[in-house]
Symmetry: C4
Subunit: 232 residues, 4 copies
């Protein structure tokens, strides 16, 4: 028994969703689940196949990236998670994958245009693609700086991480987050689907117009506004 | 026991087909089944995952969109279903999905050209894409107006809902219908396949010709004409 | 017990492979298996879902298209099968599907260029696409004429049905055949894969060259020539 | 009991991964596992379906391509494996597949550009596509020469087989290798995913830039450098 068992279980369950949802090949992804009161998160150990995972193998790390408990080395992306938890106080789950379509957009260094209501049900702007990092940032504390690259881009673009729960890191791959690890995984799956639909949309009509404002507003507010009426 | 059990079961079974056929991610779809004599339909509750559904959870709604029986909130698209049932008297099943290829065509705001016999086995015209709704309609009673947007487009284009059992709503996603909920689900799967084939056809030959009239007529009548000879 | 039990079983087993191989949606395909000595073939009944099939439900038909034994109506494509069996004396299995990529090429009215060894392992020429039939043929005995359209195109192009065991019918879909129903199904799966690879090849390099003659010859002879050395 | 049981088991297990990973249709692939001390490798028998394989059916072959033990004929690609084992002394596993996306790039005769970190996690250069072989090589000892075509291309391009564990053979298909058969299979799956992502990247942005040097170096060294910190 450990006071971290609940986030270990939450991180484990969320990690196991990634292969089921077709979002990872081998170990190309990781999920973490945070406990804000304890100031720590549980994260997948590095390079361990999903079929060998168990809740006990999740590693407990604080928001400065220090391992607190656990016999395995945490994900190589741990510092990115730590930075985001430290500065974005309302999230308690983070996911990183190399899912096929989202990664292709990241490699293309293009934000994903908002073409339809599937997108607008989840956010009101294009899915942002942060530019590749500077050589200095890359050569330095790379995973730590990745967190800042994401946050700086949000600041620069005037985006709110509570409304836009996903980002593409240019040349790299997507990160998503949310109030729980489960919600962050949900966002990863939504992102992958929206990314595929947007590519197909451009292939069918390379002058496809962006979704108009009234529809963006309507669909987002159906699910998220003060008068939302989606769900129970 | 309730006099609505038969449509609850029918709606439940039809809803459960959507994930099996690969037509939905999470809760991005809903099916309803109507009883014309009772003047009501059973529809999926809003935002409930497919794996948590049961026949009892289906909500009974009348053709004006009022909930008649059921402890959960009905699908946020319920009013669209209600409007179509009220005005199109020969249908008893409706499906709404965000299936990948059909949604990409909807986002592209293009009708799907009739390129082959797979399409002609089911309808004789391009699969219609209704334009996005006016801002007034969107800001007003949105889901209710969506039903009218579909019906008005059919009227304007001279289409018969008994012969064309599917539509794309521009920037949004597809709706299909039929004499039963099961048939409406069948139509959703056909639409998704035809949508994928049409995109691939244009990629292979961007001057691909539409199917010629004799073939359209022949294939449709094999399955649907007075002298049809498909099936048992 | 019937003297046709062996072909009923063979046709049943081959039909059941189609959904497993991802080659059909619903009932969009059919396989037949012939007994040349008895002058008949067993074929899928029309419009019956694969999950409801059993060997007993296969219908026995002669090479003129007359039903010989069986309580169900045979596939609507039965006459095409009959014509091919009647005139091409070395085949004992035929498959018709609307598999996605092969159908897209058929709709595009293009033969599939031979781009690689996966293709050359099975045939030495482009996979032929017969033109759509004349209006007279379509309005007449359609399925019967489809068989002649295929055979006439092979004659016109100097193709040998024993070496080229597959064809696309323009605007329609593929047919494949072979010495057994099992081999014909194998050919349908190969065709679908080769069709997908050829589309992707053109997308990666729209000047991709056809496979050179030496490689075509080598790969085909590895598997099919008098000195073949593939398999046991 | 045989002194080759361990490589038979290793080759069997690795071969069985190919259909699970979606890398083969029917028998279009083969894996071998070598024992360097014994100077032999175990390889899949030719043309035997994966579902009929067992460890006992693996064929033992020496590095000159002579069958040492086993009742079945080895894979038709055996000589290519033998040549690579003979000359590349640090590999003990080889895989050949016709996986869809990698084969499409091979048919396109293009090396796969390094567009992102998924690629850089595994190698620092474009995935090389060797040109089709000369007619003399093809007409001669084809599979034997295929090995030399690969090695000669590596020499010409200054590539190190210990760092670049995969190649496309122009017009043909991919080969991958590694310190174990398991690692070679891993590389085949990585190649297929990277091949798909690269095609999608070009479709989204046909001027997509190659990954910059700092990122290539960083990601490769995270997993492979002397200071690697990925995995346990």
């Amino acid at each position: 028994m450990s006071k971290y068992d609940h986030i270990r279980l939450s991180a484990y369950n969320a990690n196991m969703q990634l292969p089921k949802l077709g979002l990872v090949l081998f170990t190309f992804g990781n999920v973490s689940a945070a406990d804000r009161e304890l100031g720590v998160f549980a994260i997948k150990p590095s390079g361990v196949p999903y079929e060998d995972l168990s809740p006990e193998k999740m590693v407990i790390v604080d928001f400065d990236g220090n391992t607190i408990e656990g016999g395995l080395r945490p994900s190589s992306d741990t510092k990115t998670h730590a930075v985001l938890y430290k500065h974005w106080e309302d999230i308690s789950g983070i996911v990183h994958t190399h899912s096929t379509y989202a990664t292709a957009w990241a490699q293309s260094q293009r934000s994903i245009p908002i073409f339809g209501t599937t997108h607008a049900d989840h956010l009101t702007v294009d899915i942002p693609c942060a530019p590749p990092m500077s050589d200095e940032m890359i050569k330095g504390n790379y995973e730590y700086e990745t967190g800042f690259q994401i946050m700086d881009y949000f600041k620069e673009q005037g985006l709110d991480y509570k409304e836009v729960e996903m980002v593409l890191v240019g040349n790299h791959a997507p990160f998503t987050w949310g109030k729980t690890a489960e919600k962050a995984v949900y966002n990863s799956a939504v992102l992958e689907t929206v990314a595929q639909m947007a590519l197909l949309t451009e292939q069918i009509n390379n002058n496809a117009p962006r979704l108009k404002d009234a529809l963006i507003k309507k669909h987002y507010e159906r699910k998220h506004g003060p008068d939302s009426y989606y769900g129970q």
